[in-house]
């Protein structure tokens, strides 16, 4: 997995699935439409989808993605071109959904205190090393496990299963 570089958008603790992608948009299936509503319910971030650039990172505090099992909360960020979520902790179902959709999630202690919105990050998903190029600080996220990396490299669980069945 290659080194990633992008700008950070820092959020707080307990960013739940309704803040990331509200329940009223669940019937949407068009990726472009879904992407428009990413983070819309976070106060002050209503126009996040217009401000974020492809390759940027979402950085958050504890318990990112708590709540519903909706995969839209992963897909809206993925479709928007966000490179991944780096949070102090990520809720169980969100974490699985992200890996299973080939979307990078990393858990990194204290990240929301060590990174400011606008900081430039360099992330090595393989080792979990995160360099804050703006402050010069280095942080260490828990690296992905073997199976997680395998699923990510295939692009998600569906693709992973398809390749196993063909293999």
């Amino acid at each position: 997995m290659a080194l990633l570089r992008g700008k950070a958008w820092v959020f707080g603790d307990n960013i739940d699935t309704d803040l990331i992608y509200h329940g009223k948009y669940l019937p949407l299936t068009d990726p472009r439409e879904m992407a428009k509503h990413a983070m819309e319910y976070v106060p002050g971030m209503e126009d996040f989808s217009k401000r974020v650039s492809p390759g940027d990172f979402v950085v958050a505090g504890r318990n990112f993605g708590s709540g519903s099992s909706r995969e839209h909360a992963v897909l809206c960020l993925k479709y928007l071109g966000v490179a991944g979520v780096i949070a102090e902790s990520i809720s169980r179902i969100y974490y699985r959904n992200a890996i299973n959709n080939g979307f990078l999630v990393l858990e990194c202690p204290n990240i929301s205190k060590k990174v400011k919105t606008g900081d430039e990050l360099e992330v090595d998903p393989e080792s979990g090393l995160i360099r804050n190029l703006s402050s010069g600080e280095e942080l260490f996220a828990h690296p992905l496990s073997g199976l997680e990396r395998e699923i990510m490299e295939k692009g998600g669980l569906i693709e992973h299963i398809r390749s196993l069945m063909e293999g």
Binding site: K24, Y41, R62, S68, S69, R96, I161, M165
Partner: protein, 420 residues
């Protein structure tokens, strides 16, 4: 070394003699459940390239998130699900008719939630079935599509927390207040990825409905599952309705728990979770007087006959406050019919409540009671996230059916003990 419930069942289902937290096992679920999101699972399933589902009898689909369909998009989703279940021979399908209701309620009433079963659902509140001694947890729709295709999934063996419950509830205090207390103490991520076992003498005294309320809300502190060891109450309930054979799985007495917590029920008081977090828990008396526009009694947490009876007892012969809308949604049509027979619905209607058809209703902001900007709702549901009921400028307080009913009566948040 003994094993916890989670360790024991995951070892058994993966054919291993011993597992420990952190191990990753591959299992075949005994049953899987999906609701309206089956529509997107169908698309993912088809993209895998498999013709037939792995086992049509093990798949249960219950429409509840938006029934009857409020928009053309919802209607199309339902139509695609109807075509798919027919094509695949999926018999356990609950459509928009009087066999249906909220998926978790119907799943339990129909005898699918069984002791020692491993059940996965594409809904976060699948953890409810732990009330029957099942290991049940929520998964995403890609995972569900993969299970439909190959019948297997990977699960990480969780660490376990045991919560021992003793004593009796004081008057006006219910299982909802207890689980709010626990979530308030542990925090919204206090049990993240953990298995939560409820035990102690107070659990044995609890009704099945109360046990479902406890297990239903463990996800609100991040837990993977919640479970209660099945007893005679569960076995006699399942007698004659169990959809298949089952074998009880119990934790070993010498199992290791990461944490053991104890609660004395006699020390719990009526509580609310304030906007916008389920762990933002305070005694009702500290928010007494907060004006409400809407009160909602229903959902997989508190929409059962026991809950409606509590509300009816408090509202009988009384009229709810002017300007307050009281929306009651029985969790299933079975609950609806029972409440109809007992005269519970008539009491509620006479008090000014309106009764909506069983389903999730306004819980996640789909329909049947969306809030306007600036409005406040007190609800028996399980989530009060910002905007959950359809508007980011509205506020949701979570409470027991008694607290919600009394608040509807007063027009502001009030303690049920004031009326009892």
């Amino acid at each position: 070394m003994g094993m916890t419930f989670a360790e024991k069942i995951l070892a058994k289902k993966s054919g291993l003699s011993q597992v420990k937290p952190g191990d990753v096992v591959t299992v075949e679920p005994d049953r899987v459940m999906s609701h309206d999101n089956a529509a997107s699972i169908i698309k993912l399933f088809k993209s895998i390239g498999v013709e037939r589902v792995w086992n049509a009898d093990k798949i249960v689909i219950i429409l509840d998130h938006a029934v009857p369909a409020p928009t053309d998009k919802h209607a199309l989703n339902h139509k695609e699900i109807r075509e798919f279940v027919k094509e695949q021979g999926i018999k356990n399908f609950y459509d928009t008719d009087s066999d249906g209701g909220v998926c978790h309620q119907v799943f339990c009433e129909e005898g699918f939630a069984l002791p020692g079963h491993l059940i996965l659902g594409s809904d976060s509140h699948t953890c409810t079935y732990g009330a029957f001694g099942a290991f049940s947890t929520g998964i995403g729709r890609s995972e569900m599509a993969a299970i439909w295709a190959v019948g297997r999934i990977w699960l990480r063996v969780p660490e376990s927390i045991r919560i021992e419950l003793e004593g009796e509830f004081p008057q006006g205090v219910y299982a909802k207040d207890l689980i709010l207390r626990i979530i308030g103490d542990l925090g919204a991520d206090g049990a993240d990825y953990r298995s939560v076992e409820f035990s102690g003498s107070a659990v044995k005294d609890m009704s099945i409905s109360d046990r479902m309320t406890l297990c239903n809300m463990v996800i609100e502190m991040g837990a993977k599952n919640g479970v209660i060891e099945p007893d005679d109450k569960i076995l006699s309930y399942l007698d004659g309705i169990a959809k298949s054979e089952f074998e009880i799985v119990k934790a070993d007495p010498d199992a290791f728990y990461e944490r053991v917590l104890r609660y004395d029920l006699s020390k719990i008081e009526p509580l609310v979770a304030k906007p916008h977090g389920v762990d933002n828990v305070l005694p009702v008396r500290e928010v007494r007087g907060v004006r409400i526009n809407q009160a909602f009694i229903g959902t997989c947490t508190n929409g059962r006959i026991e809950d409606l009876r509590i509300a009816a007892r408090l509202l009988k012969g009384r009229r709810i406050a002017k300007g307050v809308r009281l929306i009651v949604i029985p969790a299933s049509w079975r609950v609806y019919k029972q409440a109809l027979r007992e005269g519970v619905l008539e009491i509620l209607i006479d008090s000014g409540a309106i009764i909506a058809p069983p389903g999730c209703g306004p819980c996640m902001g789909n329909h049947l009671g969306i809030l306007a900007p600036g409005e406040v709702c007190i609800s028996t549901a399980n989530r009060n996230f910002k905007g959950r009921m359809g508007n980011p400028e509205s506020e949701i307080y979570l409470a027991s059916p008694a607290t919600v009913a009394v608040s509807a009566l007063m027009g502001f948040i009030a303690d049920p003990r004031e009326v009892l």
